[in-house]
């Protein structure tokens, strides 16, 4: 790849929406434009941090002897919790906490629950 990378492009479009477009709008269009700028922020953060989710999934798949080719690890665990073949022990809870922290940091880093969860679950 050469030239402006994906994160730079997303950041530039986001800044354009916020600083050039948004001041011209009001009401529902202003609101939706803010939502659009936020959505681009999510994509940019996923490009930067998304690999961390896959790493967490691979690690827990290894620990629990799950085959990642059989479907998403999250779905395999959800189904096992559903039918009772797996109980949420400390290994699983710890994985779910770390994964959710990571996902929320991508999706909405300003969420109030994320601050609280970080304080509790990270040393």
């Amino acid at each position: 790849m050469s030239g402006t990378d994906s994160i730079e492009l997303l950041t530039a479009v986001r800044q354009f929406l916020r600083e050039e477009v948004l001041p011209e709008l009001d009401g529902f269009k202003a609101y939706t434009t803010r939502v659009a700028a936020n959505a681009l922020g999510i994509v940019a953060r996923e490009l930067e941090m998304g690999a961390g989710l896959a790493e967490l999934d691979t690690r827990i798949a290894c620990t629990l002897n799950l085959d990642e080719r059989a479907g998403p690890v999250t779905q395999q665990i959800a189904l096992a919790l559903r039918d009772g073949s797996m109980v949420a022990d400390e290994r699983i809870l710890s994985y779910l906490r770390q994964r959710t922290l990571h996902a929320c940091a991508i999706d909405n880093p300003k969420y109030s629950g994320l601050r609280q969860a970080r304080a509790r679950w990270t040393q």
Binding site: T32, V35, A36, N38, A39, I42, P72, T74, Q75, I77, A78, L79, L81, R82, A88, I92, L93, L96, R97, T100, L101, A103, C104, I106, D107, N108, K110, Y111, S112, G113, L114, Q116, A117, R120
Partner: protein, 226 residues
Amino acid sequence: MSRERGEALPFRLLADECYREARERLAFQCGQTLGRIHKIPLELLPIGLADHSGMLLFQRAQELLDTHENLSPVLQLGLNWLRDKPRRGPQRTLVHGDFRNGNLLVDEGGLVAVLDWELAHLGDPIQDLGYICANVWRFGSPKPVGGFGDYADLLAGYESVTGIAPTMADIHYWQVHAALSWGMVCLRMLEMYRNGEDPSLERAAVGRRLSEAEIDLLLLIEGESD
């Protein structure tokens, strides 16, 4: 049916100076109003209200998670927690089902009207009390009841009308349920976007807020209410 005046936008209610007094009264008034809603005799209710009482609540939630390909182990964990937790004897009343900051019409004196009854159903009345204390409906404010009030005022208002004093453990149980419900709303929005029912940016964006519900669920099931 009547037309009422007031403000329903959460951020205005939580920030504007003109609602300062209203904010102080609102938690107690919400408790009173929920008490009045829950005391409506069942025989006066319209026929055909959905019944979410007892095990039906869990069955409906499980069906919804199954429909969405069981993509969230955290929502499943939350549902298991709710299903396995022993509860007090079942009550069955009208439940508003979406009683939160955003669906309350408020003026300078406090609560004027309750909006958005589309999710009204039969179920455990304490569900409404936990729901208005859900983190997602505090809009970032530290105040636990809707972002504007304290638990004690909500519970006192409720007891003043019903004579029933829910415990903090009851509230906590239904806060867990409210977090699960928010997660299920996110799944439903995602579905509406994907199947073309409402392919709007708004739906797509709410569908991505699932991890907020998951954070709240994990925090709630490991501890007591904050």
